[in-house]
């Protein structure tokens, strides 16, 4: 092999071999071990594929599959479009211009994420319903109520978009805040106008960050169950539940899940292929704050309006509906216990956010330090879990952990100790589950920020004899901080509203706000669910505002 390569290749190959020799034992082995544990639930489900689909597979193909595919694709395209419009425009305006209430809107734009999307769905249905809020409003002014039916797939796409666009906003903004300054200065010096700077320069550069957020949105859209089933839209996920529970065929459900994962994987590969030749890195440390422009007053208010629309649609409107319901039900539902419950949920969410981000960092950096390219690709397998509906992942978690528990019970028995489950039904299993489920949420924003950090910085540090870990803490971490904080916020919010995993795996003594909200909502007591939902929102707001301060202060 050495003979065929030219000088350059020989050099890099020997270098690579040397690095491989140095690294393969440590970072690669560690990465592979961690990936193995994180991917274990997905693998456990995947193994089931070999037993073939259930007998109703052909029935599903004949009557339902077309519906699932067309609805899911419709949702993917519609949501991608809306999410990009809302997410990217708001991130750009926030980072680039000064306008009234900018600081408040900056964090308000994250908050739509704090309302579980099925609750947003219920809230909007409640607004447009007969006897709903709009109807009442119209009657106040003696107007005829024109009822708009939003419970269809377009309505669903709208609901999911306004509640999920912050994923794109957060990761695009992290890019704009961190990386944009030098480029903006250069473009300004060259006399290029604002629109052109954005479309020709910033947008292509921000693409990996935007796509990272968008992929999260698509995965969430695909695995949504609550809103889709309420709005009567049959998607892959409703199909998974139908074949698993109504048709009693877990294997068929697993086949559908595999198809779902294949779609996601194809999308990721397509994106990788699209940007294969372009690498976006910057060797500057960019500690300077982006310099914001001050447009004239009318312009400022126009920008305010544009940026305020997604906040209004995704947060203020559904929040108002929830507050109205909360007033109606306060006397029966409100309980001082909710405050304790909030603390508990907060503790669980922040701990799992930190654990998940920790593992995401480990995966990203260990695989970076490992010379094996294979390891890098394998580490991506770890994040696939996010596309699969939580209830299916829960099964994937239980298969290996119960096997472990049974083995532990057997082993302990031989020592004369009788014990129940040690991993299952404890916080360990729950944290493990959250890490598996939300790894992608942490991985994507962090990875997209690391892509922009030129490896020459860390390389020079290593040439000077500084170890990997020290280089990371002293040099890399400050550069990717924005991505890490964004990841913590996102995982935190996701855990706060997580449902199926929590329901199935949580210990008896633990209760979360999301579980409380679901207990009501699952049985058509939507109004009663508003109070625990409001507690979720307010508990989630605290770290959002706080971490956001850290993010922009530096």
């Amino acid at each position: 092999m050495n003979q065929v390569g030219n000088k350059q290749n020989t050099f890099s190959l020997t270098k690579r071999l040397k690095r491989l020799k140095r690294d393969v034992n440590k970072w690669s082995v560690l990465t592979l071990t961690i990936v193995f544990f994180l991917a274990l639930p997905v693998i456990s489900i995947g193994v089931e594929l070999f037993s073939g689909p259930g007998e109703t597979w052909s029935h599903i193909v004949e009557y339902l599959l077309f519906q699932y595919i067309s609805n899911s694709l419709y949702l993917i395209f519609f949501c991608s479009f809306l999410v990009l419009v809302f997410g990217v425009s708001s991130a750009w305006f926030i980072s680039r211009f000064n306008f009234p209430f900018r600081k408040q809107i900056e964090w308000l734009l994250i908050l739509p994420l704090t309302i579980p999307s099925y609750i947003v769905g219920y809230a909007y249905a409640g607004i447009f319903d007969y006897g709903g809020s709009l109807d009442m409003l119209f009657r106040q002014f003696n107007l005829d109520f024109i009822r708009i039916d939003i419970m269809n797939r377009t309505g669903l796409a709208f609901i999911l978009s306004i509640s999920l666009f912050p994923y794109v906003y957060v990761s695009a903004r992290a890019f704009f805040l961190n990386q944009a300054n030098n480029l903006l200065e250069a473009s300004k010096m060259l006399g290029i106008n604002e629109g052109k700077t954005f479309f020709k320069l910033m947008l292509p550069l921000a693409r990996p960050a935007i796509i990272a957020g968008l992929i999260l949105v698509i995965m969430e859209v695909l695995n949504d169950y609550g809103a889709a089933s309420y709005y009567g839209v049959n998607t892959f996920t409703t199909g998974i539940f139908r074949s698993w529970f109504s048709l009693e065929e877990p294997q068929t459900a697993i086949y559908l899940s595999a198809l779902l994962v294949a779609i996601i994987f194809a999308l990721i590969l397509f994106e990788k292929w699209q940007i294969r030749k372009v690498r976006f890195t910057s060797s500057k440390t960019n500690d300077t704050q982006i310099h914001r422009k001050d447009p004239n007053k009318p312009m400022q208010w126009l920008i305010f309006t544009i940026v305020f629309i997604p906040v209004l649609l995704g947060f203020i409107i559904p929040l108002s509906q929830l507050i109205y319901w909360a007033f109606l039900t306060a006397s029966t539902v409100f309980d001082i216990k909710f405050i304790m419950l909030s603390l508990q949920s907060f503790g669980i969410a922040i701990s799992s956010a930190l654990i998940t981000v920790f593992f995401a960092l480990i995966l990203i950096y260990f695989s970076k330090w490992s010379a094996l390219r294979l390891v890098k690709n394998i580490s991506r397998v770890g994040v696939m879990g996010y596309a699969i509906p939580g209830a299916v992942i829960a099964i994937g978690i239980m298969l290996p952990t119960i096997a472990l528990d049974k083995w532990l019970i057997q082993t302990l028995k031989s020592f004369g100790i009788d014990s129940g489950f040690i991993v299952n039904g404890t916080l360990i299993a729950l944290f493990y589950a959250y890490t598996v489920r939300f790894l992608a949420v942490a991985y994507n924003p962090i990875e997209s920020t690391t892509l922009k950090v030129d490896s020459s910085i860390s390389d020079s540090s290593k040439v000077l004899g500084v170890g990997n870990l020290k280089t990371f803490f002293k040099i890399e971490f400050p550069l990717i901080k924005a991505g890490v904080f964004s990841a913590v916020i996102l995982v935190f919010i996701d855990v706060m509203k997580e449902l199926p995993l929590t329901l199935i795996l949580k210990p008896y003594a633990i209760d979360t706000l999301a579980v409380k909200a679901f207990e009501y909502a699952s049985d058509e007591m939507v109004m009663e669910a508003s109070i625990p939902s409001l507690f979720i929102i307010f508990t989630a707001m605290i770290p959002v505002i706080f971490l956001n301060k850290l993010l922009i202060k530096r």
């Binding site: 269809n152 009567g232 048709l247 503790g347 669980i348 119960i402 329901l503 706080f546």
Partner: protein
Amino acid sequence: MKKIILGIISLALVTACGNDNDQSITTSDSDKEKEEVVNVYTHRHYESDQDIFKLFEETTGIKVKVTNASADELIQKMKMEGEQSPADVLITVDAGRLHRAKEQGLLQSITSEVLEKNIPDYLQDEDNFWFGITKRARIVAYSKDRVQPNELTTYENLATEKWRNRILVRSSSNIYNQSLLASIIANDGEEEAKKWTRGIVENMARSPKGSDRDQVKAVVAGEGDIAIVNSYYVGRMLNSPDPEEVSVAQQIGIFFPNQNDRGTHINVSGAGVAKYASNKENAIRFIEFLISEEAQIIFTNANYEYPVLEGVEPAQTLKDWGEFKEDKLELTELGENNKKAVLIFDESGWK
């Protein structure tokens, strides 16, 4: 900034560990004193149940530990946990799921005179694997302006041309619709059931969506004339904290189909003792308590379900609708025909 981050982390750990401690204290307590417990896996997420569990704890001193999730998820969980499953009691909101749990070997037969005597035969498993604890009926809610009650007769009649574009009903993923079709398969045969389903699909005023409550609202909004809904949702609407919902529910009439032949389709919430229950005696006492007079009164008054215990008066709202004849089909048949029902729904395009 480091301090702030450290602050967050330590706060998080304190709260998380706080939880941990709580838990370890309770578990070690139970080890020391051999605290009496019953582990309940339940699909029912109602306040009424929590009140009843509390009452059970107070009267017997047995602690009720609840795991809440959908029946399907709980069944899956029990299956995987196998012999080590902590579950003592499984509660579902329909007989079909209980039948499925029995078929998969997750329940056991028990002897309890209280249960066998007090619960009517058709509401319990013939081998005593499970027992119904409350009843609900699948009824027709109609617009008082556009429909005369004497136009309504049977479920079968709803599939005739008379009701073209007038029927509102939710998705076929809903278990109550599946049970209804399963009962029609059991009563009329598969071919008739297929015809019926196709007829209903043709008669739908809109594509199925939303909850049972939404179907009732749509009748009042004029989207359709009749809705097929579960009795206790209408009961809940009539007693809703939202005055708008109450006024909606007051504008519709309630009709119990098939009064002149087999009776209106009913389903139960039911409970069974888990196969590997480690607290079997407590589990039986627990289920017996669920059908005691005091528990039945709470069920019907807080949740507008029909009591299974004879002699217990239904809630006033239910009494106002009058008495009705129930379809006394063995509920086991609902479980046996459930899958067939789902397949028929798909074939006929009932979303």
